[in-house]
């Protein structure tokens, strides 16, 4: 063992270290809970982040419809970032920040993809698109969350849900 062995181990893992979910930043303030995660573009990691955030939301006694809305929107947004933004490239990361208080949950998700233009997404409810197998995620997020917008050329999605 010894110091050199352990430091060599650490340095070889240095590039991967920030993306490990074992050490997300979780801070409780008087306003609520602040959570930050940096994960590789792997669906299973995205699911872990979703579960951690939802556990926290449930602690604040959100009603069933709000929990359903946040769960669905998180799923859709994580898939968008991992699959459509980062194209499942495990060397690219997804950064997730959540601020959860009794009155509302704010979530930001940023990927390392080329960006995204909301206006370029066709209406999935149009008759010609109704039988297409994809393209409904954004519609669902916008329907279920209280506010949704994008910054950083569409790489960062901001969404919030009021618990009302």
């Amino acid at each position: 063992m010894g110091l050199s062995g352990s430091s060599r181990h650490n340095s070889s893992d240095a590039r991967r270290a920030p993306q490990m979910l074992q050490s997300p930043s979780i801070v409780e303030t008087r306003y609520g809970t602040s959570m930050k995660f940096l994960i590789p573009s792997v669906h299973a990691k995205g699911s872990e982040v979703q579960n951690r955030i939802l556990e926290e939301v449930k602690k604040f006694n959100y009603n069933s419809d709000s929990i359903f809305a946040i769960k669905l929107s998180l799923e859709e947004a994580m898939v968008n970032a991992i699959k459509h933004g980062n194209k499942l490239d495990e060397n690219k990361h997804v950064y997730v920040e959540a601020l959860i208080s009794p009155s509302q949950t704010e979530i930001q998700i940023e990927d390392e993809g080329p960006g995204f233009d909301r206006s370029s997404v066709p209406d999935p409810t149009a008759p010609e698109n109704l039988e297409k197998c994809s393209g409904r995620g954004i519609l669902l997020i916008e329907s279920y969350m209280s506010d949704v917008h994008w910054t950083n050329n569409g790489k960062r999605m901001h969404m919030s849900k009021r618990n009302d």
Binding site: K71, L130, L140
Partner: protein
């Protein structure tokens, strides 16, 4: 037909295959791909397949799950079959309503009503 590891249970009701989802969440990609493959195999077993998907146990689904359902619907139509959905909880039905897929799928409140609606 439905092995222990299968994500769905299949019951034969006369000519209709009734499919029950075993997991209460149809969310993650791996789960959805597995269900989709199981449904495709089931659809391909017969000419003019008659399939009823019973959502009694389903509490959550995602847009990827809707895609899988649309794929099953298209496959059944190609084979001149019939697809019905039943027992969709109100929170889940809202997802169908928002996406206007309540117009695409034939959705019934109960399994009995859905079974009665098939052209046999």
């Amino acid at each position: 037909m439905s092995e222990p590891s299968s994500p769905v249970a299949v019951i034969q009701e006369k000519e209709v295959r009734v499919v029950e989802f075993k997991n209460n969440k149809i969310l993650d990609e791996a789960n959805i791909a597995e269900i989709g493959a199981t449904l495709n195999a089931l659809i391909d077993e017969t000419d003019q397949p008659k399939v009823l998907l019973d959502f009694t146990s389903v509490d959550h689904l995602s847009s990827a799950a809707l895609g899988m359902l649309i794929n099953a619907n298209n496959r059944i139509k190609q084979r001149n079959g019939q697809l019905r959905l039943s027992n969709i909880k109100s929170q889940i039905f809202e997802v169908f309503r928002i996406t206007k897929l309540d117009r695409l799928f034939k959705i019934f409140a109960t399994r009995a009503e859905a079974l009665a609606s098939f052209d046999l």
